[in-house]
Amino acid sequence: MRLLPSLGICLALGGAWLKAVEAKSATGDRVLVLVPTTESAKQYTYFLGTLETRGFDISVRAASNSSVALHLDGERLYDHAILLSPAAKKFGSDLTAHNFIRFVDDGGNLLVAASSELSDFHRKLGAQFGVEFEKRGSRAIDHVSHLSENGSDDHSVVAAHRFFGVPAVLPSTFGGNNPGTVLYKGIAHKYEAKNPLLVPVLVGSTTTYSGNAATGGDSDNKALSPMDTPLSGKALGLVSVFQTRSNARVAFSGSTELFSDSLMKKHGSSNTQFVTEVSKWVLQEKSVLRETGHRHHLLSTGEKPEYYRIGNEMVYEIDLSVYRDDAWHPYVANDVQFEAIMLDPYVRLTLNRTLPTDSKSPLATYRGDIKLPDRYGTFTFRVNYKRTGYSNVDVKDTVAIWPLRHDEYPRFLTAAYPYYTSSFVMIIGFLALSTAWLWNAEPKAKTNVKDEGKTKTKTKTKQSATSKPKPN
């Protein structure tokens, strides 16, 4: 009896050790790799080997294989697709660009590699994401920084060293003072700079341009004439990545040789690291954010009421984790914001991270103390966190904020105390007047004129006449 559980533990531990994964995807392991022919997959053995080591279940298929399908009964058959067949007009029996876009809409990730001989399929697919490939037959050329070994220069193999700094996609070791060199042979593309979802990862340096045989940029290493204005420099994209609003990731590379063994093995090339980082990002092995829970309650009582009142003080908390290195870690940032919205945001507050009680906890709690606005209505509590390179987190909560009941307003306002005192003072004054009027005793006459004396006595008698009935 005792042996079984211990055996089970041994097997589990052994199995885990055998797997020895570096990273595992947060969204699934099934990868479809489409190559022109299964023979051509041999040039990517290193790249595909690293994917397998990372725990993926790879299916390599030829592009023309009619059994290739992305969906079955409305469900995705694969979680990721890698396209290494630039010349194919369609994949499988009838998979067009539209099918792959639907694959991405359903949450699948895509890594698309093109080349100078790319087909309309790739052009259409790229256009959907803001990536405009150059004309067929052109290639990225650099007469200054290119591959040169053993005395033979190939100007069409660009030694690209200009990376865009998005730490979520490429770690900062790639940029900075000592950037790596990525050997790239293929076609360039224009990327839509205004699209916030599209991030260029590897772009041309100042001496890179996109040329073809007609403009003189062919393998004869002929230079351009001054009248040409081809795509060049920073606007020339070599590798770009795209993240959809539903957190599916797509990467576009104009070169299949970027992933090939031959360029990876060249001396001084950082293709391996570059391809590893980009593929980790695309296959959701890093920079994946997730919200594991959120709560809100009153500050004073600590309980969540059925409805809030205007001006209530409350606390909002949200837990965020980031996936990297095969596990969920607490996500540390200083720009997580909370909004209380009723058509417009009435409150917008940056949340602070609370110190964790458990250091091994995979989540980071962000907390904010909020005073609800002076308006009543149906509000939405929202944390809308969209950062370049990280997955989107959008958490909404609908709450009701009720107005105060008539007996919940303050009874006496401090600003109105003078008016209260004046009212009471008037009352007292009236009472004083009444007593003075009723018990009034006329003082002795002090006049020295006959007439005044006459009027005085007249008024005296009149007053005594009129005043008599009053005390009664």
């Binding site: 306002l413 008016y419 209260y420 009212s423 004129v449």
Partner: protein, 107 residues
């Protein structure tokens, strides 16, 4: 009050020498008015007059406070100021009715 001063002016030969010396200047008018008032007004009416001055003072204090601080508890201001004004008006009515010089109109 108007009747008193009119009566005083209508019978100049019966007034005192001091009153007769009043000049046409403002200070002279004011001092003669004050003297006439203190001498000729029955005490009951003086009581009412004091009360009316008190009401006016209270009203002015509230009005100045409202002007400084603003009309935030507007209802409270209206209540306080209105009560002062109303008390003033009622006191004026009582004075008119009980003034011996108005006996002809209020039998």
């Amino acid at each position: 009050m108007a009747r008193e001063s009119a009566a005083a002016a209508a019978a100049p030969e019966t007034t005192t020498a001091a009153a007769f010396n009043a000049s046409a200047s403002v200070s002279g008018i004011v001092s003669s008015l004050a003297r006439e008032y203190t001498a000729n007004t029955p005490q009951r009416l003086k009581v009412i007059d004091t009360y009316m001055v008190f009401c006016v003072a209270v009203g002015i204090v509230q009005f100045v406070y409202c002007g400084l601080v603003g009309t935030f508890p507007y209802n409270a201001f209206l209540a306080g100021f209105g009560s002062a004004v109303a008390c003033f008006v009622f006191a004026a009515n009582l004075r008119m009715k009980t003034n011996p010089k108005n006996r002809a109109q209020f039998p």
